[in-house]
Symmetry: C2
Subunit: 580 residues, 2 copies
Amino acid sequence: MNHQENLTAYLQSFVNELVRNGIKNAVISPGSRSTPIALLMAEHTHVNVHVHVDERSAAFYALGMAKALKEPTVLVCTSGTAAANYFPAIVEAKISRIPLIVLTADRPHELRDVGAPQAIDQINLYGNQVKWFMEMSPPDAAPEMLRYVKTVSARAVAAATKEPKGPVHLNLPFREPLIPDFNHLEKYEADDPYLQIINGELTVSDEYVKGLAARLTGFSKGIIVCGEMNDGNFSEAILELAKALDFPILADPLSQLRSMEDPDNLIVDTYDVFLRNEDVKQALVPEVIIRFGSMPVSKPLTIYMRELEALQIVVDGGAGFRDPNQLTAEMVYCDETTFCRKLIEHVEHSKGNHRQLWTSLNEKTKQEISQVADITELSEAKLFHLLADLIPDNSVLFVGNSMPIRDLDTFFHKQAKNISIYANRGANGIDGTVSTALGVGAAKRKPLYLVLGDLTFFHDMNGLIAAKQFDVPITIILINNNGGGIFSFLPQAQHPKHFELLFGTPLDLNFEHLINLYGGQYSVVENWDHLRALCTDAESNFSIRLFEIKTNRDENLKEHRQIMAKVSQEIQHFLRDEGK
Amino acid sequence: MNHQENLTAYLQSFVNELVRNGIKNAVISPGSRSTPIALLMAEHTHVNVHVHVDERSAAFYALGMAKALKEPTVLVCTSGTAAANYFPAIVEAKISRIPLIVLTADRPHELRDVGAPQAIDQINLYGNQVKWFMEMSPPDAAPEMLRYVKTVSARAVAAATKEPKGPVHLNLPFREPLIPDFNHLEKYEADDPYLQIINGELTVSDEYVKGLAARLTGFSKGIIVCGEMNDGNFSEAILELAKALDFPILADPLSQLRSMEDPDNLIVDTYDVFLRNEDVKQALVPEVIIRFGSMPVSKPLTIYMRELEALQIVVDGGAGFRDPNQLTAEMVYCDETTFCRKLIEHVEHSKGNHRQLWTSLNEKTKQEISQVADITELSEAKLFHLLADLIPDNSVLFVGNSMPIRDLDTFFHKQAKNISIYANRGANGIDGTVSTALGVGAAKRKPLYLVLGDLTFFHDMNGLIAAKQFDVPITIILINNNGGGIFSFLPQAQHPKHFELLFGTPLDLNFEHLINLYGGQYSVVENWDHLRALCTDAESNFSIRLFEIKTNRDENLKEHRQIMAKVSQEIQHFLRDEGK
């Protein structure tokens, strides 16, 4: 076979095997060296191709799709710095356990480290930030090489989706000419993959579960903590387990449990507020904590757990180690849903009325917090309190890092609408947020709302082009406090010298121009009625609409402190009245 | 000493030692974990601090400064994906041999791999893309620890500036509280560094040079090829050597030799055009090539050198291997200027009149090319031909990758103005171009012109904020052909299916809005007189001005082909008339 036939047969086998192993989406950035793989992806009837010029945004977009679909997205780029631009999203994917298959085209061996154009060292380019790396052979259609390339293809999918899920990287060297021979393409037949890899899941023995159930029954005071989890089966199972144990569930906004039916009132969602109060912490001393998912957003909760002497049990289906407090006494490497189901079978109802206090504190706090609804001025706190109201049922809410995710945690409570909440909480970066949100939106095809601050928005302005190019309508609520609002809450704020230079970092940009660049709709929110009218303008046909809420960092700090002081005082009274 | 005193003394020693070893500039991105190092940099009277929110742009900006100043810029960021955003610029710095000192703040050891927020694995984060990595100790002011931290500081500068120059990475773990104690800061005294590291330079023996000189004298046909070099001493030395040898110098646009006085007419700058002609190549067969700098931009030159049987000698003061043709017979690891100076002493004038033909072909080609001046429509070719005319003396010209740098090579010839030309020709990426240009501009403080295409401009839109924030005026000539113009020149263009999707990639953006975002001046160029008027409007006081030239990819391809065909024909006639 000649060069082109080798290239074509080898890569078609590779792509077909990806598809047969379940791959549906590829995000491709333009380039020359990647031509053969890009063309074969575009030609494939079963691959949705999204072409994104900026590789940094492209990778976050792919991450968003993978996050929403819970299956790997493929990334394709050319050689050189293009591949380096994937790095931030790869780092986030690794730590937040999102499957990605990164395909970087490369110069062939004879053009490496010899000053050839666009040739960098791509071997292990992403180091420890990917789960698996393979430097692939130059294309070759010998039977044993087709077996090889199909096997690598299947292994890439399996490696990306094996728990803990994450990114994998294949580096593909190509010689010129780079054009496949379309006359030699075989028609794709949906078929079993050449290689099926069955990723087993972690489980624990019945003996362990029985023993644990017996021990749990002995405790009268227990709590369940759920960090980020994104699995409907788990949500059901954990509610059943909590009911069986009569333990409250402290549910992080990313646990998806704040948008669940909760007939038994098991969910506690205001702990971020009431666990700031020392008396409350004294009154709520559990003997056991069972924790699932990643570490919760709430800093008061983290500090609370750090101060306890309770037995801390962490269940992790990805077999990592997610406890910065290092107070875990039992780390259970078991699929979380399996763990719940197994435990439910053996558990007996615990005896205490511990949950009652959590529930009543939660209700009292919620009642107090709800007074932020009376704030007449535009306010970050009230925005998050109102959010569930403003957003339609059956929608996706993506939340920026830094202050928005924290405010969401504090002010967005359990409600009846089906709102899926997402954020990039692996490495908590302010990068790639717009793109990740659009990737989620493209996968979910539901109304997409993104709430974020001005620095986060600025960081990924490029990502917004995906809304226009891939037809993913997005509503952006931009909280513009002209700089880094979170720093006002940190000790740095006590040192005014250099503060605005290093931390405040105002950009002084009028984002209307940016929205015009992408042909979107821009509005400055004048007041709450205006925001409500904008959000409910369901008739409007849009690609991008941005509602800008201008706030002030100093006033926001003051308002947060006032709200927290008042709520804390009321909770204290409540606690005293309850005789605790 | 308490925590804060340890932190302060340790980091002040570190920063002072950087400064005493010559560091003057730091580019800092906002973050919490990096607070102590950021504050001490900002507090230091001898460090210019530039605060840049987007770390990707920040790193390219630092790269541009380092490129122009030929000394390391320091980068400072917080932990997490912030550090990953530096990766593209680090890759470019490594391969283009630009010194950078990358300081990433990190969580301390006890908060690593335990699910703590914003904690990723930063050990060897950049893998092979940095020259040196050190995981540093937590701050400690014991005398031996101050010796340690000052030694690492001095070594970082030395490692970054040792040939081949490049990026180094120090990872700094910090525990809370993160605020240094300003009361314990000592006043900075300019002093000798604690540790001076003298980076020796490569030289070769007199015996080798004498032998080479003798051999060269035996050749009647030799050429010198200069790729990217950026050293005034070298420019002088190479002209003297060429004169002594009577060899022509094929001077890449980034060799800086096209802006030199050249009284002996040694510089050949149109080879990219005439080496496309087979008859010319037959007539110009050197016996020896001496090459300096990185591989030249010109593909015709690379192909020409590939087809020769000449003795190829490459001189590389960075001791790399920059010959993708792998036809180098002698690779001389010696400082380039030293090599020239030593060789000049021993060389005797070679006998041939070989140089005459190169010179006359160069002049004939230039004369033919100059006819593009007659093109009345807006044209990419004519733009680069006119460029030296449009740009003031004593200015900086930064050129985007992909087509602009190639068109510059083809159409921008030797001229009398002092125009320093820069591009990112390590990995040839289209990323980070705006930021690198602004970094060069900030360092040079001369009129800054950036010529680039629309995809390249889009890729680093964020970088433009530096013009506004750091007061670096920039004139941008944007060649907007709505997509990836270079692909029209490649074999991909023969396959219209998927072409616009994967390679053409039109963005359909009106960049006027973007310029409005940054408060710049925007003009669509109507004709050549208009462009000239815009460029020479020296009275205008601006931060950003962008002149957009709208072109068409298909027409540009056609025009390039027509020009090349016509010039080639004329050169052929000339050659025949010369009797070659």
